[in-house]
Structure formats: C-alpha cells, structure tokens
Amino acid sequence: MIAEFTERYRRAVNDPDLRPRLLAFQRSWRESRDAQVALLEQRTERSFDELRRDFAEVKDATLDRIDDYIAEFRANAEAAGATVVELTTAEEAVEYIAGVCKARGIDLVVKSKSMVSEEIELNDELAERGITAIETDLGEWLLQLAEQRPSHLVMPAIHQKRQYVAEILGEELGREFDPDDIPAMVASAREGLRRHYLAAGTGLTGANALVAETGSIMVVTNEGNMRLATSLPDVHFVTAGIEKLIPTWADAERQLQLLPRSATAQTLSTYTTCITGAQPGKEMHIILLDNGRREMRLDDTIGAALRCIRCGACANVCPPYQVVGGHTFGHIYTGAIGLVNTAFHHDVEAAAGPQGLCVSCGACETVCPVAIPLPRQILQIRRRTTESGHAPRWERWLLRAWSAPQLFRAAMKLGAVASTLARAVGLVRRDHIRLPLPRRLNWRSIPAIPSQTGSDLIDNRQPQPTLESTPASGTTVDLFAQCLANRLMPDTVDASARLIEAGGANVNVPPNQHCCGLPAFDAGDWETARRMARAAIDALSRADHRIVTPATSCVISMRDHWPQLFRDEPQTLSRANAVADRVHDLAAWLDGPGRLPDGCLEQEESGSWTAHRFCQSSNRGEPGARIDLLVERLTGETSLPLEEAEVCCGFGGLTSIAAPEVGEGIIERKLECIMASGCETLLTNNPGCALHLRAGAVARGASHNTQHYADFLASRLPDDPPS
C-alpha cells in the first residue's frame, strides 16, 4: 500500500538527509550528463535538440500505427518461439503471470528491474496468490527488504542512506555490515541473491525497447542481474508497456544514443542485451500492457508522454524533486513524467497529491531526450485534478478573491494601511514587516505594501526625457503593470515606464488592467483563469498600441496559456492572439523595438551585481531571458558569475504557499548560490521571483539587495540627457 500523499510529504520534509543527498546527486548528474551530451553533439555534428526530435518522431510515428507494429512484433516473436499477449488492465497482467506460474508449479520469481511490474504492483499481488517475487537489481532488492518502493526511475534507492542499507542487509543476511564499506555491501548481493536465482522457476524482466522487425526485446542494465534472471530459470516473462515498440534495430541504436546518457550519464550501460524468442527448451511470455496508454495517446496534449523512455532525467533537474524526493513527487512513476502518467495508469486521485508541488519552471522539458512537453502536460493534469475537486479549498477562495479586481484592490489597500501603521511603530525593516511567523512560514518575510501603486506613480510625475531615439520613438506604448508589481513593486512599474520613455516612446497605462489569469491557470482552475484573462484582454484591446510589461511570466501566459484557455472560443481566441501578438517583455523590448544603445547608461563605481534569470523564460529560450547580457550591454558593467542562475527560485505561483517546505528548500539552494557569488545586488526579471527572493533574503538576514533589473537600469538613467 502506498501511504496518503500528506503522509508521504510529511515524511519527506522531516528527513534531514534527503535534501542534501538529492542536491549532490542533481548537481553531479547535471555536470556529467552535460559533458556526455556535448560529446554526442560533437560526434554526430547535430544538436541535442535535433537528435531528440528525430527520435521523438520515430516514437510518434510508431505510436500512430501502434497496432501494426504490435502485429509485426507478435508475428516475429512468435515465429521465434515466444508467446505474446496483449492485455488491457493491471489485473489481467497479474492474473496471466500468476496463471502461468500456477500451471507450471512455480512459486518463486526472480525479477530484473521493471517499472511496469511496479505499475501493476505485481509483487504484492503475487504474494497474495502464494508466489514469492524477489527483486535482483541491488537497489530494488534493498527496497524490497525495506518494504519500500522506488523513488527514482533509474536510481530506485537514491533516498536510502548507507547506514540504513547496512541495517537492512544485516537483518537479511544475519551478519554485521560497516556502513562505510559500500563495496562489501554491494558484494553481499552476489551471495544474497544467488540461491534465489538457482531456486526460481521463472525470471521476469522489463524491456527498454521491443523491436518489431525481429520480435526482439532490448534491455539495458549495469549489474548483470538481468542476464542471470534470464539464464537460470526455465520461464522468462517480459512485462512492457505497448509504447516500448520501435520499428527497427537502427531505431534501437538511436534510442541508445539518448537513453544511457540521459539516465546515468553513461555513454552506454554495461549490458545491452537483445533477446529474440524463447531459448532452446525454455518458455518466453511477452506481456504487452495497455493500462491507460491508448487513452493517453488520444489526448492531444498528453499523447506525447508515451514517447517516454524512462530515463529519469526529468527528476534530475526538478527543483521540488530535490526537496521532497520521488516518494512524494510522484506516485509509482516519479518525477515530472509521474505527475502526468499516474492519472492514466492509476487514477486522478493518485495523481492529485503531488500536482501542487510542481513549480512550472520547465527544466524537465529541456533535458527530456524525447522532447515531451512535460510542463504543459502537468498543467493539463492539474486542471483535471482541480476540476474533480482535489484542489485545497483555501486555494479556490484565494483565486476567487484574486480574480475580483475590487476585492483584490480593497485587500491590498487594507494591507497598505496596515503596512504604514507597522512602519510608524518600527515594525518594518528593509521594507518587510517583522511579524512572528510560525516555523513553517518564517523563511520568507512579508513585504510591506506601499501606499501608492505603480500607475499612481506614473500618473503623478513628468515623463522621462528621451535619451536616444529608437524605432519606437514617437509611438505610444501600453504598459501592462501586472497585478503583483503594480501593488507591491510600484517603483519597478515606474522604472519600466521610464526606460520605455528613454527610448522616445510615450507610455500609457490602460485602466482596469488587473491580472492575466496566470495564478489560476497554474492552479488548474481554468474557469477562473478565463474570467481573468477576458478582463485583461478587454483592458488591453482598447487601442492597438504595442504592449510592454516587466512581468516576464505574464508574456508567457498571454502567448502560451491564452490559446489553451480559449481553444473552443474562436472569437475570444482571436482577440487574445491579437493582444498576445502586441505584447513584449521589457528586456526583449529594450533589445528590440525600444532598443537603447550600448553603454548609454551611467556606470556606477561601487556595487557588484549578478542576475537570477527567470527559470521559465530561460528554459523556454525566450528572447529577453538573458537579462545579465542586457544589463552588461547598457551599463558596461560586468555581472558576477552565478551558479545555477536559471534554476527556479522556488516561488512557483501557489506552490510556495501550498507546500511551504518546498518553497523554503528551493530558495535555500538559490540563496546559497547567490551569497556564494559575493554580489551586493541581485537582479532578476520577474516580479514574483523578485518579491520571493527579496523576502527570502530578508528573512535569512542576507546582506545583498534584490532588485528587478528595471529598477537597476532606471537608476542609471542620466539626469540630464542630451537634448
């Protein structure tokens, strides 16, 4: 049985060893995987993106004609003496395996690693039928001894520490193990498992690929256990999802270019085993399982998830995974892919718990070797879980309040009054209110709300004189101030206006603008998101000016989320697209239509800086994502290097509220990198990140300032520009 999500979450955040171990793992994987991919690109003279798109096409073409390929596979495998069975449900697969075992009098199964067998919870099911299954992959065996499940697709026992391993091995083998002698613990698998291989009537494996042209299976392993499990017993079961079909051996080789490099950062795993048909005098049963896969394929957005080759790379770059691990970030399948396919192989209930943990940073998609649009798919699944009533009630109310501009404004005004009072009595330091917060929440301070909004500031000041004429000179630009920035970062809104004006354009702040709908979309509440988006489209459709915003996330929301929201409303869709076509991220604007010349801003002698680059736009390769280069270009100042500059800061929309420990864990990693850079000022490019990073730095007592780059640039505008 898998514990409830809340219980799994609680266990994960209370494990002090988990975070540092997974952090070390993610960092070392990243380094070795990047080196492997660079070598591959060099050897093939093709980019990773080209290579993965090629193989993704192979997978898609196969999936589109899956029944033909299954028929070809079946004919060839059966000609070679195998039995091929296509089964629809997990129960059918269990019954088939148990049935064959009973008929042959088999009561012991040795297993090589198979995620499908985890998916159908085979071990427990067989145990209920009096058949013992023994895992022979070292990691899986350790999990079985500890009565646990894999927390990672290829490093199943990554959450276990060696002291614990020594303990469980000691219990199983009846002698003591030194936790620091890992080779001795590893060696024990050889003796501990040998008797099972010799006694087992059947060996069960998965398959990394099913090759249609010859009816063969291909399995990659490192330990050698798979070859033992298929050599000693007389019956070989293969459990595989139908998506493992590929047409030819040439395709198998293409898969191998991507799989071990993405999984364990190896050029090739130690054993790549190809088996065609039953061996002389033996039986081979190949179970091709559907279990929700054909239904997945029918879904426009989710269908591509069937390309997955189970490398685990999506978990290896996932910031929330690093904090909570795979038992919490996932169900049986872990990592980003687990947030998607759980809804199909299991149910929406099982998929619901971890949905709120994803910060939508988009890192998973950048390393996926088959280019699965995981972030978009997760948001789609989150919509299902929310619509089926699995979202927390507070979230629904918060979004409803947010979506009502009057309510939002009233709440913010109240907050502004309270902030003024707090300031008067000395409760405000570094623009944050000093309130005693509970331990779960005290890693982030509460920002004091300024009394004026961004649009108030712009209404009550003289425009910035033109610094340089640009292609945008003389035109009017609509400024989308963004809900958060307008209330909580009014100076940033004004700074953005001044930078646009410095390029000779006039700035207009359209009235009644509020929110693009992003928070609701992210939370899976599409109905509220549509309401908010419609209001934003109305507010921004009064003129056909170009629109500029300092809120990078809203640009993505308008361009990417709006078409999804209004797919079935052609009229709104065309209005939405018209707005999205006119919208520019401020940084892209300052390099594009409103391009300010190199070195036009004043240099300041003092003040070193570095830049956290908004994860979502960086991971999508959006123009304007490289704010460090923009600031260097305009000021002539040089950025300090920052490690993991594009890794999420942990704000993640509502994630940091719904799962505060995740927000805390991620910002801790971020602040450590920032403080190690030695910067006096940290720049960033999205209001949510700026607020989150500033509040985190204040709570932690870090000495650096956090600024939106617009503030930093505007403060360097010359006082007396040339006329």
Partner: protein
Amino acid sequence: MISASDRTSRFQESLVAAQGEIAYLDSWDELWDFAASLGDDTPVVSPAAHGFLRRGDLPDAEDPLRSIADRSVGITVAALGVAETGSLLLVERAPVDRAVSLLTRHLVIAVGQDDIVDELAEGFRWLADQPRAAAYATFVTGPSRTADIERSLTIGVQGPSRLTAAVLT
C-alpha cells in the same frame, strides 16, 4: 576511412573510460598464457573460445552456471568490438554459452583487431543481419557495476568485477 590502428586506439580509450582493461596479443597461445597468469586456478572457457584454445575447463552442459560460478578467470570470444563505446558483442544462444561471461570474476574477452567496428550503429546493423545471433546477444561495456548505494560507483556486482579485452593482432 579511419585506419585500423586509430580504431583500435579509440576502442581502447572508450573501454578504459568504462573501467575495462585491454591487452594486445599475437596468438591464442599468448592469450591462454595471459589469462592463466591472472588467477590461481585454471581458466574456464566458453564453448566458442574452446574451439580456438582447445584447453581450459568447459562449463558443465547439464548445470553450466553452478559448475563455474565464481571461478577466478574466464575466457570467451566476442563477435565484434565497438570503438565508439568500448563494447564487445557477445553472441550466446544457450546458458552454457553464457555461463563464463555471467559468473567468473575476471572475464577475458577475445576480439580480433579486424572485428572492431567504428560505431555502435554498425554493431546493430550486424545484429539486424544475423537473426540467429540476436537470439541472445549482449553488448558488454566494461565490468558489471552499480551506484545504487548512495550513488557510490562500485565495480563488480553480480557479473564480473574485472573485464579485459584481449585484442588479437
């Protein structure tokens, strides 16, 4: 064209990167002496290698795995080597063919220098053309390994803990 010696040195580089070892030998006699020097007992020899060597202990046909489990040195033959990855392709249809490569401690795999190909893709092309070979074929790339305990790379788990490619020149 990549020259044979370039290909061999690339093979060596890839194999060493995968923690494998390499020896260049002139003849099967030399190979035998080399393998025999690696352990205290007589090397066990796969049926395929026995065809060339005509000596060494063969696995028992009735109970091949148990008969040679954990012997210190084993010798077998690869159908081909792959320079790109340092892999050796073992074609082992029956358990008796596989016993030596599965369970000996130090595995010596003979490969003809002329049987080394450049890329893994060529290995797969060869396999696609040899349906009988694909009955049970394995690209072996270095000794068996795991990183399942705290990601600590440990060489030698359930398969051989040392692997030497004996390149016959």
